[in-house]
Symmetry: C2
Subunit: 246 residues, 2 copies
């Protein structure tokens, strides 16, 4: 039987999603608990994609195969009882064997949160990126978002050390939301390259700080050169919110 689950995790104390030697990762915790439930049998967990150290998820999707005949309610309970409390299973579904958390994903939504407070809140230090009281020009940032919409080669917005060849992706929507003392970037697309959201966030911030002109953004995209874009924004501001399947 194939099980699909929607999970959330606080990325603060993880070295990211994917298993790495001698590191605490989300996948490691999931597979550790599944091995227990399967009395020592190793169960491989597949996620929609990896997330980096300190990056959060409120709607990561995973799947795994199991010989156990357990109701979805019992699965959710069994997993949440045994998982550490920085990972929670929000939903469990029984799916057909052709469901694949990674290859079947047709869209994702991410959120990036900047804290605009003058003094950093101890309560947001792991959950938003503190910008030392700087106040960006949000109107400029909103103007710059238009350049990203639609299908583009996002080579300029992808970490240089990636092995992915096809860097064409489609951004369906990209909006900025102003919250008390915070600015949120919400971005939806059919797929995202390594560090793509964080480089877009870093570039938009530079536009807001008038280090990059609004009109320069299409040129940065067209350059297909990572050096032209802004810095990769820090991980703790990033949330994987939702993954869609056809």
């Amino acid at each position: 039987m194939r099980i699909k689950a929607v999970i959330s995790y606080d990325g603060t104390n993880f070295a990211g999603y994917q298993v790495q030697p001698n590191k605490r990762t989300v996948q490691l915790e999931l597979e550790r608990v599944l091995m227990k439930i399967h009395k020592g049998e190793a169960i491989k967990v597949v996620a929609s994609g990896r997330t980096d150290a300190r990056v959060h998820a409120t709607g990561q999707v995973i799947h795994f195969d199991t010989p156990l005949n357990i109701s979805v309610e019992a699965w959710q309970k069994a997993l949440n009882v045994q998982l550490p409390d920085d990972i929670r299973v929000r939903d469990v579904q029984l799916v057909t064997d052709d469901f694949h958390a990674r290859y079947g994903a047709v869209g994702k939504r991410y959120r990036y949160i900047w804290s605009l407070e003058r003094i950093q809140s101890p309560f947001r230090r792991h959950y938003a990126v503190f910008m030392k009281g700087q106040q960006p020009d949000v109107k400029r940032m909103k103007q710059a978002t238009h350049a990203f919409l639609g299908e583009h080669d996002f080579s300029a917005f992808c970490a240089a050390n990636t092995s992915v060849v096809d860097k064409v992706r489609t951004i369906h929507s990209l909006r900025l939301e102003q919250h008390p003392n915070e600015l949120h970037l919400i971005i939806e697309g059919n797929g995202f390259l390594y560090n793509m959201v964080r480089i877009i966030a870093g570039t938009l911030w530079d536009v807001g700080m008038k280090k990059i002109a609004v009109a320069q953004v299409p040129a940065i995209l067209a350059s297909q050169s990572r050096d032209e874009a802004g810095k990769t924004a820090p991980p703790q501001g990033l949330y994987l919110e939702e993954v869609w399947y056809a």
Copy 2:
């Protein structure tokens, strides 16, 4: 010169406010940084009151004496640069020598936060108390709040192991606020006994769960017996929000 500061801290990784041997406490971190600033001289920090392990503060007040002639802006900067990021100095004022953070306090406001979510959010696990999806009858809780208003002997709502003799305190206001998936208790008074807010919270929760009748609450107060009140609610839901001075 006497310096007053308003500080906030995330209590998660502290063994409480007050210095204890071999424990990481808020006072320890403050005094460590002040000793550095004073080139090795020990500076004693006085707070409005102690807070327990895992209890948070958004408006704790402290004072200390210093021979250094530094502007309040420079004090705030110097402290925030050197303090760990789970403590932040929100404000600094120069005060007269008769200001005393503890003895001068004439009122305090605390907040207690219950999480009513069905599945615990990994992001709120240190910042609200997860009630396993239980939904209290908030109307009953609101009715029960009236019993606490005004001047009472709060012996029934004080940890048994306290050395304080006079247990008469005045509660100025006590209200419940409903937030998405959360219930907040906000309580103001002229002073609070050890664990008083957490025992009031635990008792109100039991009223909401129909384990204690609304009409029983005045009788619990009158009993002056700790055994009659509800359990001490867990620390991570509690925030010291503000301290007033005459």
